[in-house]
């Protein structure tokens, strides 16, 4: 542990705060803290207020569990979205990723995690009841399961597919495979094997 005790206690605490962020090491945290020190009092106040009011301003969408500033998230509020397709993701941070892809025009459902027996996380810890209630309303025709492709993500998808199966509802799973534009030589063998298993006819 290198000592950086040449800073005042308040700056030390700021550095420690930045270090909690993903991808930030000791050196970067120090630079961020020093950069913030150069801000005007107004800038600091505004930024601090933003952080302090975050819990009251940002919550979960009542319908889908996505991040929302109001009762409903921007996706659920948008009448142009296809109400018959719901894409199921593990966490809210996956919604903007799929949004940017432009490949999904329907709604979302954020589970709030996945089934991880080794961490004691079971189906009841996820927003599965809420999803079932949405399906009960009868408007949904397709459920796209976009949980992760690792063991727990796959198992959660299998679990949902079995639990939510009902007439008139198509349940699909996003494909796993070779990144678009990637050279096969750079794909790891597990990805390539999955891609080969889920091959489809062409022409």
């Amino acid at each position: 542990m290198q000592s950086s005790s040449s800073y005042p206690e308040a700056v030390e605490q700021l550095i420690a705060g930045f270090r909690r962020l993903p991808g930030v090491g000791a050196r970067t945290a120090e630079r961020l803290a020093l950069a913030v020190l150069r801000w005007t009092p107004e800038e600091l106040h505004d930024f601090g207020l933003l952080l302090a009011t975050l819990p009251e301003r940002v919550g979960e969408c009542r319908v889908c569990g996505n991040l929302a500033e109001d009762d409903l998230c921007p996706v659920c509020r948008d009448p142009a979205r296809d109400q018959s397709i719901i894409c199921v993701v593990e966490n809210a941070d996956q919604v903007p990723v799929i949004e940017r892809s432009g490949g999904h025009r329907g709604l979302y459902h954020v589970l709030g995690g996945r089934i991880v027996p080794l961490d004691g996380i079971g189906p009841e810890d996820l927003r599965i009841g809420e999803l079932r209630a949405r399906l009960d309303s009868g408007e949904v025709r397709e459920l796209v399961l976009a949980t992760g492709s690792d063991i727990e993500g796959e198992a959660t998808a299998t679990y949902l597919a079995r639990e939510l199966r009902r007439p008139g509802l198509a349940i699909t799973r996003i494909a796993t495979g070779i990144p678009v534009g990637a050279d096969l030589a750079f794909a790891d063998s597990a990805t390539l094997a999955t891609a080969l298993n889920s091959r489809r006819p062409v022409g």
Partner: protein, 374 residues
């Protein structure tokens, strides 16, 4: 797929600092007991498999008083060096793995860089030890031959642990969550069983000849049989789809009992490789000498398995396994070793049973190695 040209050790067992090179063919390591011959073989083995053949506690590999060590190697074809592998290990944990200077994170990217088979006294556990020893033997061999096996094995282990965790906490997870994980468990488990069964066929074919070479007189017939509760008898040709169905049924039949006891009783984690001499179980009836020679025959058969393709070179590490062999058997064994791409042979004195002079001879003493020939 290559042989070892150079070895670098820092703080490994009794080697504070060692840089040495090896030749293709037989490399003779000569020295008294306790001088560090086995430590050298152990370091090379670690470089290949990230484990020791002597201990499961990696911290023991550190030089006395240190908390980390480094093992590095330069590998290549028998013509010249082509790649490097480096491992920095802290107490009990691999900290950094590098292949050709590039940092890698998964053991599975490491394990097929070069293939080692160790012939060591501890091999007796293959015969006398619990079934887990023989499963590990199969698993290591299959992982060396195909890194995808290691990937599936890692997945299976996680799935099994997850299932057991759900069995012990069934109120929270329920049968449908267990069933969802079972879908993957079945597939991974069936793939492992299929691969092990195919390996058994290969071993069965070559172990007979290897045993003859090590035996005096008729010596009987050594055979191996992979035993899995998911394969009835000898039906190796069972399709994987059939096996998955059997597996599914057996898991369903036993889930109540599993729930009661909190562990999974069906699957490849309970399999065994049975070893017979003339149809009788060797572990129960064999003499110490027979068991040691059978273990040696299994190791030689696994060299055959790994060498099945021209491009694969196997590095053979030999330590103190000749006690059971008379001169004629030793000479046959020497012939066998001479045919290998590279052998590191540890002995207390220069042997009289090698068909020709070694490629290189080293004196090993007190944490230092000096090349005296080659």
């Amino acid at each position: 797929m290559s042989i070892l040209h150079q070895l670098r050790l820092r703080g490994f067992r009794n080697y504070s600092r060692l840089d040495m090179s090896f030749r293709p063919g037989v490399n003779l390591l000569v020295g008294g007991n306790g001088q560090g011959k086995t430590n050298l073989l152990e370091a090379v083995y670690f470089l290949s498999l990230l484990r020791s053949f002597r201990t499961s506690r990696i911290a023991e590999l550190c030089e006395w008083g240190r908390s980390s060590f480094f093992v590095g190697g330069r590998m290549g074809s028998s013509g010249g060096a082509a790649g490097t592998v480096g491992l920095a290990v802290g107490v009990g944990k691999v900290r950094r793995m590098r292949v050709d200077g590039r940092r890698i994170h998964r053991a599975s990217e490491f394990i097929d860089k070069f293939h080692c088979v160790a012939l060591v006294p501890e091999d007796i556990h293959l015969i006398r030890g619990p079934a887990a020893e023989r499963r590990r033997f199969l698993d290591i061999l299959l992982s060396q031959a195909d890194r995808r096996y290691l990937h599936v094995l890692g997945g299976y282990k996680r799935l099994l642990k997850s299932r057991n965790a759900m069995l012990r906490n069934s109120g929270r997870f329920g049968l449908s969550a267990i069933a969802a994980f079972d879908e993957q468990l079945l597939r991974a488990g069936a793939a492992l069983i299929g691969a092990r069964a195919r390996l058994q066929e290969r071993l069965k074919a070559s172990v007979v000849g290897e045993w003859k070479g090590l035996s005096e007189g008729p010596g009987g017939e050594l055979s191996v049989e992979y035993k899995s509760m998911l394969r009835q008898g000898e039906h190796c040709e069972d399709s994987e789809a059939d096996m998955i169905e059997t597996y599914r049924r057996m898991l369903a039949d036993t889930v109540d009992q599993d729930l009661k006891e909190g562990w999974t009783r069906v699957g490849p984690h309970r399999d065994d490789l049975l070893i017979f001499l003339d149809g009788r179980k060797l572990s129960a009836f064999g003499s110490e000498g027979q068991c040691r020679r059978a273990a040696l025959a299994l190791r030689l058969a696994s060299i055959q398995f790994l060498s099945r393709s021209e491009s694969v070179k196997v590095v053979v590490l030999v330590d103190d396994v000749l006690g059971e062999l008379d001169l004629e058997r030793r000479m046959r064994f020497g012939e066998r070793l001479s045919a290998c791409a590279q052998v590191l042979l540890a002995l207390t004195e220069v042997p009289d049973w090698l068909p020709r002079g070694p490629a290189a001879t080293y004196n090993v003493g007190n944490g230092a190695v000096i090349r005296v020939q080659g």
